[in-house]
Structure formats: C-alpha cells, structure tokens
C-alpha cells in the first residue's frame, strides 16, 4: 500500500533556523519518520550548499557549517528563507521560490517552531482557511459579525504545479502587528509544495505592497509536525520580538484547533468531511494532493482509492 512516502521523500523540509546552532552543537530531530542528527562545525562549506544559499538570496555568512546525518548517511543541506532545509532524496525536486525574500526593504522574520500533534497536511490546510478567523483568532484576524467569506478564485497552476487562491478579501480588526484598526484585508494564497504554504496580504503601512507570511512544515511523522512560520514584511517600527510574538500567538490559537481534529490525518475521502464554498482552497488542495498521490499524512479510504473520485461533490459547492 502506497503511504505517500514515495512522493514526500523527494521534497525539501526545514529542520532548523539558520544560525541557530553554534559551532560544536548537535541536535536530534525527525523527518518523515527517520531520525536525523544535525551537527554544526567550523569546516568550510561545500559547493552544493553555497549554490543553494545564493539561489535563495542568502549570504551564507553564518558561523558554522551544518551537516545532517540519517542512519550514518549524510543528507543534502541548503539554506533558504532563513532556515536550513534537508531532504531524504538523492534526486530531490527543486525547492520552491519566494521571490519577495530578495526584495530590498523587507524584514525577514523566522518565527521559531511550533510542535503540533496533527498531520502536516492538516496544518497546511488550516493555514489556507480564512473562515475560522472570527472564531479562532477573535478580535485579531476576524470578529463577528464580519464572518462572510466572499467569492474568490482558486486554480491549480499547471506551469508551476501550485494551488493558487486569489481575490480573497476579509474584514480584520487587527490584520498585523503594524495595523492600527480594522481594515478589509486582501489575500492571495500559494501552495508550492504539499507541506508549505505562502500567503500575501495587505500591508497596512505600505498599501502598494503585500506582506508575505509562510509556513514551512517539517513532517516528523504522519501525525506529528513542526511548523516553522516565516514572514517577509514591510514594518520598520515593530521590534523583532513583537513581530514573532504576534505570529506565535496566532499559531498557538491554531494549534488548539489542529490538535482536536478527528481524524488526525487529513481525510481525502470526500464523504468524510463536508466542505462549503468558503473551502474552495482546501478542496483544490486535497484534489492536488490526490493527483500527486501525495498521501503522507492523509487518510485514504479504500472507497476513494477504488473510484478515484476527484474530490468533494457537495451540492453547495455549485454556484
């Protein structure tokens, strides 16, 4: 039985924040059920690592070089978006790009890590959801009676092989650390890999630009993950600690939901959970996962394997 590992093992995953480990330090973590050891030493960084860091717009000025071992095997490492990434694959897919990481004037904010007892796919799906804002992030990202999710667009971009949701707008009492009152926020979402999601939202101090917030999910196993939120913001005022604290608050509120969803794995059987129009991004995400057989962290019923149904057919999805 294909458990989705076949797809998942060829992606890159974050395992640490860049510069977090000091020379001489090592750390244990897990990835896709495998035990990993990260070691930081002062050896010269090898060519493949430096290439990758340049592509991701990083300077590679960190104090030590990280080596990652799994069962005695040395794994590839690259730096991107202020994190260290690795893969179990010898022929990994290319790591997705976030071009805003190179834009001058943006503050790049790695927000730490949140351990969540849920499927990595549930964590991504929750990140794509706006309808929960008034109930889970009350008086911050949403508030009753402003609960309506207006019609928006979702597509699967075949060129980049990404799920994209656009033309989303939602009323927010405090859209970000830099906002000083309620505004209608615009959103665009991208899912460039099954366990990563990027959003672009109205930037209160710079209306012509959009803030970028992403989550990079490290699957420890199918039912446990580390979520590494990351931001690229135009905000010259807030302190780094305040920016991180704001994002951590939001994500801890999400965790209280994520650890109480049944089942822990994301059900891909359309009969298991009923979507509505507001869930079009989640519906497209589930379809896209199915299309790739990206089943690591998903619950697949025998039913849905047999009929290869392409996703929820709830009548309310029809216009």
């Amino acid at each position: 039985m294909n458990n989705g590992l076949e797809y998942a093992m060829h992606d890159w995953y974050p395992v640490a924040i860049e510069g977090e480990l000091e020379i001489g330090q090592s750390r244990q973590t897990r990835l896709l059920g495998e035990q990993l050891e990260l070691r930081c030493d002062d050896s010269v960084c090898d060519a493949s690592v430096c290439d990758a860091s340049q592509r991701a717009g990083n300077t590679g000025d960190s104090v030590g070089t990280i080596t990652i071992f799994s069962n005695g095997r040395k794994l590839p490492v690259q730096r991107a978006f202020n994190h260290l990434w690795t893969t179990l694959s010898e022929k990994p897919r290319e790591l997705f790009a976030i071009s805003e990481a190179q834009e001058p004037g943006r503050r790049l904010v790695p927000c730490g890590v949140v351990r969540v007892k849920c499927s990595p796919l549930r964590a991504v799906e929750n990140f794509l959801d706006i309808a929960h804002f008034p109930f889970v992030h009350t008086d911050v990202l949403g508030a009753e009676p402003h609960t309506e999710v207006y019609k928006y667009d979702v597509r699967i971009d075949d060129t980049d092989d990404e799920v994209i949701a656009s033309n989303i707008r939602f009323y927010q009492p405090q859209a970000s650390k830099s906002s000083s009152g309620g505004i209608e926020t615009q959103y665009i979402y991208r899912v460039p890999a099954p366990m990563a999601a990027v959003l672009y939202k109205t930037c209160p101090p710079k209306p012509e630009a959009m803030d970028v917030i992403a989550i990079f999910v490290q699957p420890l196993d199918e039912e446990t993950c580390n979520v590494w939120p990351w931001m690229a913001l135009y905000d010259d005022v807030s302190s780094m600690a305040d920016l991180i604290q704001f994002q951590q608050l939001i994500f801890l509120q999400d965790r209280s939901i994520l650890e109480n969803q049944i089942p822990r794995r994301l059900p891909l059987d359309p009969k298991m959970e009923i979507p509505t129009r507001a869930d079009l991004t989640s519906v497209a995400y589930r379809r896209w996962l199915k299309r790739h057989s990206a089943w690591y962290g998903a619950q697949i019923s025998i039913d849905s394997l047999q009929n290869h149904s392409e996703g929820p057919n709830a009548h309310e999805l029809a216009e």
Binding site: D129, A131, H132, P134, F135, V136, E144, T147, E148, V149, S256, I257, N260, Q261, I262, P263, P267, M272, E273, I274, P275, T276, R277, A278, A314, H315, E316
Partner: protein
C-alpha cells in the same frame, strides 16, 4: 451496548457543552437554553473538529473552528462564512439517545437510552476519574471501608451490572452511597458518586475525600499489577 451514566446533571448547566467518553466513543454533551440535553458524536461534519470545544448559543451548539451552528434536531442551520445560505439538510452530526434522570445524564450509543432503577432520594456528590480499567476500579471500591455520618460501617452490594452500580448501606439506611460506573475507555473509568439527601455538607465532603483515597488505592493496585505483568514477560 448498554445505557451508561456520563455526568451528574448539575455539572452541565444550561448553555454549556462538555466532553464524555463511553467505551472509547467520544461524545459532546450539551444543554441548550431550553434545558434539553443532547449527546452527539464529538466531531463536526465540516472539518472534524471536536464539538465539545464549541459554544452554546440559545438552543444551538456552534463549532469552535468555523462557528457552524447545529440546532436541537442536529441540523446545521447557520454557516457564518455564508450568512445567507440555507445549509443542506445533509449536514448532521451523529446523535445518540440521552436522558436525564434523578440528577444523572444517561447515554446509549446504540439504542434508546433506558435508565436503570436505583433509589430515588439521592443527590450527586461528584464525578471522579480513575486512571485504571473498570475491573480494577470496581475491586478497589468493593474492598474500601466506608462508614456513615454516625460512624456505622456501610457494606457494598451490586445493584446492576449494565450499567455497573454499587450501593453502600446498613440497617439505618439501605442505600446510603451510590457509585455509578462509566467505562470511558479500556484504561479509564469515571465514577459518578451519589449520597442520600440526608447527608450534611461535612458528610458529603467526607464522601468526596473517601473517593480520592479509593482512587489512589485503585491506581496503585493497577500499577503494581502492571509491573508484575512486565516482570513475568521478562522471564
């Protein structure tokens, strides 16, 4: 599957929701403003969120995740993301039969809930969770010494086996203290404790403390048995 006690009724005030487990089945139990109690599968049909974390408004239970409102007929009647939408009638949580009887809530996850007979003039003292299997908890309760307020010893007798009910009494008062067992899963038991209404406040506190000492003994017995079992496996 039999009817099982899941809570003392007074522990579920109006417009509140609580979680209970019966033989591993996870339940959301809630009471609307009209006072009626509902017992549902603890899972929102939308995105699988446990409904016991939700909130009650009037006679509806709303999910904590997206605020979907379900009425007393378990029909979803309001989806906040689409305020104008009349939700399809197919969106329904799984419901179970529940009755409120003599200050106790009883649930049956297969059939209509049927309440067992037990003495009427008792009042709820507390519910207490034992971190051990049903049989261990039951043995510990049977073996525990209990006296009434006058210091006269009470002896246990079993009133029913499904649900399991243990009554402590003596010649002065036949059913002085009642224990109703709720096997929540294989590893845990909740015991709902009732006492004759003539007990003073101090007497009720005494029963509550007695429960805690029995729990300590039961959990200790369980631990000893587990360790003994492990030693056997090693040999």
């Amino acid at each position: 599957m039999t009817t099982t006690p899941v809570a003392l009724a007074r522990d579920l005030p109006v417009q509140r929701v609580m979680r209970a487990q019966v033989d591993g089945c996870d339940l959301a139990i809630w009471r609307g403003i009209s006072g009626q109690v509902q017992a549902w599968e603890n899972r929102c049909p939308h995105r699988g969120m446990r409904l016991s974390y939700g909130f009650v408004r009037q006679d509806s239970l709303a999910c904590a995740y997206h605020g979907w409102h379900y009425n007393c007929e378990a029909v979803c009647h309001y989806i906040p993301a689409h305020p104008e939408l009349q939700p399809p009638a197919s969106i329904k949580p799984v419901t179970y039969s529940v009755v409120e009887h003599q200050g106790v809530l009883w649930v049956n996850t297969r059939n209509e809930a049927e309440v067992p007979e037990f003495p009427e003039d008792s009042i709820g003292i507390r519910s207490i969770t034992f971190d051990c299997p049903l049989s261990v908890a039951f043995e510990a309760c049977l073996a525990a010494q209990l006296s009434d307020e006058a210091g006269l010893s009470l002896s246990p007798r079993q009133l029913g086996d499904a649900p399991l009910i243990l009554s402590f009494g003596n010649q002065q008062q036949a059913d002085s203290v009642l224990l109703l067992f709720q096997p929540s899963d294989l590893a845990n038991v909740v015991i709902h404790v009732l006492a004759h209404h003539s007990y003073s406040v101090d007497g009720r506190i005494g029963i509550s403390q007695w429960c805690e000492s029995v729990r300590r003994q039961a959990e200790l017995n369980h631990e000893v048995a587990m360790n003994a079992g492990m030693e056997c496996t090693h040999e």
